[in-house]
Structures are given as C-alpha cells and as structure tokens.
Symmetry: none
Subunit: 205 residues, 4 copies
DNA sequence: TATGAATGAGGTTTCATTCAT
DNA sequence: TATGAATGAAACCTCATTCAT
C-alpha cells in the first residue's frame, strides 16, 4: 500500500452529491415548467438549467413524467402538512379568521411552489392520474379540517363543504395570477368575504 | 405593449364548399382540443377527423394557433351575447334567481362549447393573448350585468363584484368537470348558494 | 331576338385579354423571381401579384419551369437582337468604342430584365438546359460580332475571343450588382479598359 | 444596418466521435450542395449521405443555413491563407507569372472546394450576408496582394484593381465550369493573358 | 457514474399541381 | 374560361429517450 490515504466515507459523498443534484434538477424543472408549461418544457432545457447533462437528468428520472411527479409529490406532501396545521388550530378561530387563513395558505403555497399549480392544471396530459389523486387527498384534508371545526355537521355536508372550499381556493389562486391592480385587490378581499359568508352559512345549517 | 407576434388569421372561404370545410374543420378541431388539450392536439389529427387532407386544413388556417383563435373567437361572441341577454332580464330577478341563471348559463356554455374552456385555460401556450382579451371582455359584460342589476353600487364595487362572479363561474365550471357523484351535486348546489349569499351581500353594501 | 346587341368580335377580345393576362403574369413572375430567387418564388405569389388566381396561372403555364422558360425565352430573343444590332455597327468602331458599347448593352439589359440573370444563373435547377442553350446562342452572336469586326482572325481565335468577351460581360454584370460606391465605379471603368486592352490584343494577333 | 437575423451557429462537438461526425456531415453536405444547389439540397439527404440520422445532423447544425455557414467559413479561411501566401511571393514575380498564379490559385480552390462557389453564388438565399462578408474579406486580401506588388500605386487604384481582379477570378472560375473543349482551353489561356494585360496596364499607371 | 452523441418517429408547414364548379 | 378548393409528398425541425465511452 503506497499511501495511507484516509479511506473516504464510501458512498456518503456520492449520495450527498446525488441529493444536491436531484434538488437542483427539480428546481430547474420547476422553473422551466412554470415558464413554458409542461408540454413545452424540454428535458434538455431542464438539464441545462441545472448545469447538468441530459444523461445525468435521466439517471435520476426515467421519464419526463417522473420529473413532474417528483415535483408534484414533494410539494403535495408539504401542502397536506400545512392544511393539517390549520386543522389543529381551526377550532379556536372564528369563520372570519378561518377564511383568511385558508386563502393565505393557498396563496402562500402558490407563491412558493408555482410549478405545483402548473402541473396540477395540465389539461389532458400525462400526470393526470397523479393530479387527481392529489386533488382527492387535498379534499380529504379539507374534510378533516371542516369536520373538526364544525363537529355537529353531517358527513355529507362536510364533504360538500370541503369541495366548495377547494374550488374557492382554486378561484383565489387563479385570481391571484391576474395582473395586479386595485381591482384585483378589491376582488381578493371580497372573495375572502364570500368564503366567510359561506362558512357562516355552513355553521348555521 | 409591443403586441406579441399575432398569428395570421384564418383565410375566409369564398365558396360554399369552403364554408362547409371550415365548419367541419373547426368542429373536428374542437373535439381534438377537448380530448387532447391544445399542445397534444395535432394538425394531422384535426384534418383526419374532418375527413380532410392536411393541405386543406392549412388552406384555411395558416397555423395551429389560427385554428384555436378561430374557435375561441367564434364561441366568445356567442358567450358575450348570452350574458347580454341575462343583463336585459336580470333587473327583474331576485339574487337567488340571478345566481342560478348565471351558473346555468356558464354550465350550458361549457357543455355546448367545451373547447372554449380548454383553449381559454391553456396555461403557458400560444393563444394566451387572445384568451386574456376574451376574459377581459367577459368581465366587461359582467360589469354591465351587475351595474344594471344594482344601480346604486359604486363603480369600483361593480368591477370587483364582476371579478368575483367571473372566478366563481370558473370554479363552477371546474367543479362540473369532476366525475359526477352525489357529493358533486351537493357541492354544486352549495356553490350556487354561495354566489347568492355574495350577491345579497353586494346588494346591501 | 329581344335586342340587337352588336355581336361581339367572337374571340378577339378573349385573345386580347389573354395576351394582357400573360403579360401581367410574366411581369409578376419576373418580379418575384428577382426578389426571391427561382426556388423560393411560389406560383401562388406570382398569381397573386398579377391579380390572378392560381388556376388562371396554370391555364397559361403548365409548370413553374414553363414560366421561367417563357421569361427567359422572351428576353433572350431581345438580347440576341441587340447583339445583332451591335454587329451591324461594330465594323465602324474602334476597339475602345466597341468595348464600351458591349458593356453598356449588357448592363442595360440587366437593368431592364433583371430576372434574366437570376434565371440564367440558377445553379442546379430545372431550367438548366434552357440556360445552356441560351448561353450558346449568345456565344454565337458574339462570334458573329467579332468575326465581322476582325475579318482576318482565324475561326478558333474568334471563338475563343467570343468566350472571353462573354465571361467578361458576366463579370461586368456581377460587378454592377455590387452595392454602389466610388470603388465600384472605378472598377467598372477599369473593367471596360481591360476589355479594350483585350480587343486590341486580339486585333493584333 | 440592423443585421439580418443571423442563424445560430453550429454546436461544437466535444468528443472524438462528434468531431468525426461533423467532418463526415460537412463532407456530405458539400457534395449535396454541389450536386443540387443550396435550395434543392435537403437535410435528409445530407444526413443520409453521411450515414447519420437526421437527428444527428441537427445535433450539430441547428439549421440548414448553419451547415452552409460552417462550410463557407471553413473554406474561406483556407482561401484567405492561400492568397496571403501569394502575397508574400508576388513581389518577385512578373505580371505574367502573377496572372498565372492567381488564376491557378482560384481554379485549384474551386476544384478542391466546389461547394464554396455554389454557396457563395447563391442568388437570393439565406446565407447571403455571410457570402458578402467573405467576398469583402477576399477583396481585402487582394488589396494586400496588389498593394505589396505595386508599391507606388495610389490606394484608390489598388482598391479598384483588386475588384477587377476578383471579378476576373470569378469569370475564370465560371469559365472553368463549362464543358471541357478545345475552345474552353483556348479561352482560358486568353483570359489569363487578359489579366496579364491588365496588370501591366496597372503597373504603368 | 457522468457525459455527450445517436436515434427516429412525429409534428408543423409549404407548395406545385390537379379538380370541380 | 376563371376561380378557388383539394391534395399529399416532402421539407425542416424537435425532442424524449437510449447508447457508448
């Protein structure tokens, strides 16, 4: 043995580099999807933006769809968790406060993970099944939230309520994507109020 | 605004045969866009579905974008007109009725022209500018509607109200696209009620 | 017979209209070829420029090549004739004058019929055979010219001389196509002088 | 001058295999351009001749124009260099010798790189801007040559002389492309003599 | 493992030419 | 005869994916 070079922690650095690479690839993918949309985004551009080669990208994600799914999956988990946090605190809030917190949560999420919306909305594309699954899971989270907040409400009502809330979140997010203007701000305020009115109505059923 | 490069418009047919062709091409295009989405729809498939050759398609629509625009344009006019009809009758209705009529109008329209929604929602695609224009025009129609229905309301309120209504229509249309179920039906009912609550609130401002 | 409308001269006006149409089609074709080159010029554009339909164009010219040939043929005849006129007058001129007249003739022709050059130069395209024929015929005209002007010259010399003159004409025409500048003007003058020098040399052989 | 939209350049290969590919692609392209001309040459045929797939061709040359430019650019450098070599030796030569060397140089070059002529002459085509640049650079080289050979000559004269020489080279090359014959050979000899006469004249100005 | 090259089906678009009214 | 519609081969180019080094 010519030299006693400290045996390097076998694969750990590899793994660590792997993690970094995956992270930068996903980040690049997110940017690209947001800018171009799912279809127009190319694997080549994603790799290039991450400073990686196309071969490297395919070493971690076998298909373009896999990239999208990894992105969606990762973000979805975070979203579920945040709704769960709201669920824990919701019982202490008034309907007014709850409406505000819900909208804030979804807008914050969209701001931080704009690719999530892009991929979730893709019309007739590959990750459609995944998107559906996620939507259902979000629905379940909202059902948990409303069920906890309005304990006496019949299950069917809770389910319908969660659905309405979900689509109003969608509306809020879409509205937020409009070019900013005083009109938009006013509309956002009123949309929050509409949600409040709805929750009040739900509570008195 | 330097106006994005606007795609050349459709060439107008000048013979009876041409008119028929254009009609069948547009119909085939609508079907294809709905089934596959804008990006995944191919000109080849559109032509084939219309029983026309690819050259024939290009005789009337110089680009894929032109096909989409022709579809959107044609349908948009119809939608404006229908909102106009509501505007005329709205003053006689209660908020309850108005909410129902609005939702019915948009759902009917979606049922008859599903491609309109697909093309209008395309996230990061070519006909985006056109879609924006149309959305603004719909907004204006709704402003007209609410302005007529609630004469005392300040302009800013009317504008914000129209925006809210528009995004709730979007929500209603999206909800309608969900797999049918009793839960969906219940949610639809409640969404209508939410709109009613909002209109009541608006009227009492 | 309800009215005695003067029986129109059966087909004469037709024919006349036909001539006009052919003329305008050829003119449009010339413009298009000059602007776009032979390959990039389209039959549709030629027809449109002439204010005719594509069907009408094909009624007179069965192929694109036929259009080019008609154009070349018509112009070539004029060119032969003009060289013939020079031939008649050349014996009275000095070499200086002859050089000037030759260059002037070709430059004038290029100015009036720029499409002739474009079509004649087309590299590996359809009308190649025709172009060759024309070139040979021009050669013959030049042979006639030089043979008449330098009666004692052996045939082989005359033939070689005509060839040299022809390629110098080509050079002159190409030079003329350069962006105008004082440098170009000076070069043109010297090219004429070079031709003169050559003719002098030829005469003294 | 707003500089016509300049086509994206060729992507440089980074592996040995890539270099070989590029070389064979360029060679195939040269053959194809010579045989068919720029417009009629197709990317498909170029790839096929090189034994490559169409995708492989586009990996290195994003457009057909890029192929042409790569060819022209590469050859042009060689031509400049060769003229430079003449420049170094020209002062020792008589005008007779210089004329012969110039013509030999251009004919040799045409024989070795026939695609250069084809692409440079393309009448109204895409690589026009590039061709112009090259022509001007050749002019400059000739200016250097004549300036060195005829030291006392005023700049304007040198410039005009270089232009004349350049167009006579064009004529010589074109003449050489004619079907071989005794007439052609004789004409070539006389063209060389004409150039000699011109250089003599230039020297005595 | 990392990289760049290779592949080729498939997409959009063009255009000479033919048809039918 | 004049016109516009119809046709489809073929061109250019893209891009997800696979290979080879």
């Amino acid at each position: 043995m010519p030299s006693q070079k400290t045996s390097p922690p076998a694969r750990a650095p590899q793994r660590k580099r792997g993690h970094e690479r995956v992270a930068s690839l996903l980040s690049a993918a997110a940017d690209t999807f947001v800018e171009k949309g799912y279809d127009a985004a190319t694997m080549t551009e994603i790799a290039a933006r991450a400073g990686a080669s196309i071969g490297s990208l395919y070493q971690f994600f076998p298909t373009k769809e896999a990239v999208a799914q990894a992105l969606m999956g990762g973000h979805a988990e975070a979203l579920y968790a945040r709704i769960g946090q709201l669920t824990a605190r919701a019982p202490q809030w008034g309907n007014d406060e709850l409406a505000g917190q819900l909208i804030r949560l979804f807008l914050d999420f969209r701001r931080q993970q704009p690719s999530f919306v892009v991929l979730t909305e893709v019309p007739a594309s590959v990750p459609k099944g995944e998107a559906l699954t996620i939507r259902m899971r979000i629905r379940d989270e909202l059902i948990g939230l409303l069920g906890g907040r309005y304990p006496g409400l019949p299950t069917a009502q809770v389910r319908a309520g969660a659905t309405v809330v979900q689509y109003m979140m969608k509306a809020a997010v879409a509205l937020h994507a409009e070019t900013a203007s005083t009109a938009r701000t006013a509309a956002q305020t009123q949309l929050r109020r509409t949600l409040w009115l709805y929750l009040d109505d739900l509570a008195n059923t």
